[in-house]
Chain length 342, copies 3
């Protein structure tokens, strides 16, 4: 796709400064701009790049004042950042606008599919599955029996959804993620080892949820493992059976939430956080990277750190002394010598 400066200025309601016929076909950072690309300048820290960039087109704020010659054509807009974000979104929409059902997809005769869906090669939609409108099912996705997928949801290549799970509308699930695998639960040991407890619940995902690549979200033993509206997951996250994640909570990569724990709303967990089972975590809780939560958190909006974790400020204070624990020990040695010497 090629666009002229004129077309883009029209789209963004901007004013051209320079050659209106220059054309671009991709977006770039201003410091990596090359002929044929469009960039933007919003952060003053990057201003110097505008005099050297090779981008054909640069979006700038209306009130930008050049202090030297610029070879790029400029488009002046109200907010360069907002205008560029709009371009990004349009670009992405065009790029990801797949439609049509491949002849090499398998869709069960008993499944129902909405209008305007995409189903790529070697995707599987099993018996009695219900697929909404505008759903995008990339190649090699597996949708098990009785699964429901809401409108406008995208499942990238190779997502696997076990039977009976429910996925909301406007969700995005990235490649390799598994939804609805069995929870990890076995009955107490007898002579022949432990016995698997059948996992016959499901996973229930509300609207506007995004899940990264290669996550694993287990089905409930009975009932549902639940991700509430607006939950966002990074990659490689493990969610055990019967967990519930509250609205708009954000989990960074490699989080582990053990069985039956309930996480509140608007929580933010950094990478590699672990949370033990059967806990309640209050709304707006923040947990720093690599921390381990071993007790319920009842007061909302607190920050936790450490393994096992406690108040982050207290942790940081303790850790300063830990770093110098050898010094503290030497001071005790000295005090003891003085004490004996008396």
């Amino acid at each position: 796709m090629q666009f002229s400066a004129q077309q883009i200025a029209g789209l963004l309601g901007g004013v051209i400064e320079g050659n209106p016929d220059v054309t671009v076909s991709k977006l770039s950072k201003i410091e990596e701009g090359m002929p044929g690309s469009i960039s933007f300048l919003a952060n003053p820290v990057y201003t110097h790049y505008i005099y050297t960039t090779n981008a054909s087109l640069v979006i700038v704020n209306k009130d930008f004042e050049a202090t030297g010659p610029i070879s790029s054509t400029l488009i002046r807009v109200e907010s360069a950042a907002a205008a560029f974000a709009k371009l990004l979104e349009m670009y992405n929409q065009v790029k990801l606008n797949k439609t049509g059902i491949s002849k090499q997809a398998y869709i069960s005769e008993t499944a129902t599919v909405g209008t305007n869906i995409y189903a790529g090669e070697f995707a599987v939609v099993s018996d009695n599955a219900r697929i909404g409108n505008n759903v995008k099912i990339y190649p090699q996705v597996y949708i098990g029996d009785n699964v429901t997928v809401g409108d406008n949801t995208t499942l990238f290549a190779g997502v696997k959804i076990y039977s009976d799970c429910v996925i909301g509308a406007n969700c995005i699930i990235h490649s390799g993620t598994v939804i609805g695998s069995d929870g990890f639960r076995f009955e107490p040991q007898n002579e022949e080892g432990q016995r698997k407890v059948p996992q016959i619940g499901n996973v229930f995902i509300e609207d506007d949820v995004e899940i990264g690549a290669n996550c694993a979200i287990d089905r409930a033993t009975l009932g549902s493992t639940i991700l509430r509206k607006g939950v966002k997951f990074d990659n490689l996250i493990h969610i055990a059976h019967n967990v519930e994640i509250g609205e708009n909570s954000y989990l960074a990569a490699c989080n582990v939430v053990a069985g039956s724990t309930k996480i509140g709303k608007n929580c933010m967990f950094s990478g590699q956080v672990g949370i033990v089972g059967h806990l309640q975590i209050a709304d707006n809780t923040i947990i720093t990277a690599q921390s381990g939560i071993s007790k319920s958190i009842t007061k909302p909006g607190e920050v936790y750190m450490g393994s096992p974790a406690f108040d982050a400020n207290k942790y940081r204070k303790a850790y300063i002394h830990f770093r110098n624990l050898d010094g503290l020990a030497q001071r005790i040695d000295k005090l003891e010598k003085q004490s004996k010497g008396q």
Copy 2:
């Protein structure tokens, strides 16, 4: 599937109290019971729910005494918990009882397959693979050359098994798990960087093993990476080349076991545990979440905690003081002042 109270009472050898014609089609927790579902009451903590549940049918212990009106039909049995577990298992067996080989599966002419197997769409069974009886191969599974899969084993959608690996009987492997990828081993650096050591061993998995979703179990350099009988893995576990996991050991999510380490029998490791390479871990070892094991453990039955880990009780004691390390430091300050003030 619809079942009447009468049919279920017959199945469980129970006695009906209430309407014998009421029908149910699913199982639920008593607190989430709805018309058409069957629940159970075993734990006295939940007794109050029986007076408000909407479940059509509730299984109770023979000696349960109601203290108020109950709208559900009851089935009295010897043990409500055992009876419900039996129902769960039957339900699961029916639900997962897939059979038949899809026309869209690929099975090499040189592969041998047992009786009564299931092979879903776009599954691949490669040259000289040997598949036992009653094996379930879900869609998009990949079984490499010369792989053996034992009787009654289930491979969920998208499992990938590299060539020459051996999977036992009665195993369950969940979606996205990779068996037999190359171990991570490179020869010492020369001017042109490191050189890959070919990984020509395999993975050998004994009977009754269950592996969660998105695990990665590397093949041995030579010989086998081994999971012994009854081993159970949660999701997202990494097992390096030439590791051996002993009988009936349980690893929770996101465990990492580095190369050539041998784990004993009946061990239990919590989530995010890491174990360095070339160690021996004694039978019945317990490791708490996020711990890191850096030395062999020779005494069986001990509990380890920390990174690097040591005796869990000692760790907890040390950690109590760590939490208040600022306080300890202030006490040292004070002692020093007193000492100087003398």
Copy 3:
């Protein structure tokens, strides 16, 4: 494949001692040698096994002197280790030498593919993808639109590569790994929750890179997430958007590198390391297992440990005292009592 002692001796330029007609079909460790296998003896620690091994053939160093009867046929060579490594490599090359495009692979008409490629069943090569010569695409691999794959690269079963990514020559990517999923980035919260920032960059992987199983490498927001020449990844690694990993750096299993961080050359990170976003890590940095890096590292060649990490020697010293923190606290108690008692 069967080979005689004579054939192998010819291949390796070695001298036979024993029966030249004995044949072997597999490679084994000397302690696990069985009839029909070939082993080697290089490390003196294993010397005693040569008198009991059942391997039909054993490669030994030219100057090996037996001190007892040996039943295996020997092949004497300059370096037994180097000769065996050569055999391993040849064995592996033969075993992995797949060719041909399966009728059940899907290759877009607008894709271009080189000579001598392998494309297995249910693999997908999308529009305008460019596949080099001798590339091996195992079953169920997904290659998105406009992806480039360099010569001699192997993509094992089920690898997923999103649109516009670039993979170099001589790379190996293991099963389940996802390349090019969206970065985890959302705009600040408003009343309706956060808004996804479109991720329109790509992943750019240079030559000679190996990536383990079930890794997830996110595409850049703009520009590229970059893995430089010779980078090696173990399994289950998460790389966030706009990260760059320098030449010949090695990351062990379950590493997490957050957004926009730049890692230097020849770094070595042990398992479960986490690195926060927007940092610079100097060349030759070594990080011990489970450590968390929260600040940039500017001095090359240092060793880091802890979470948050600092100099590994200092960490180990502090940790010795941490293990005995209860003892330190008791000594302070005692000093205080003495002080009061004065």
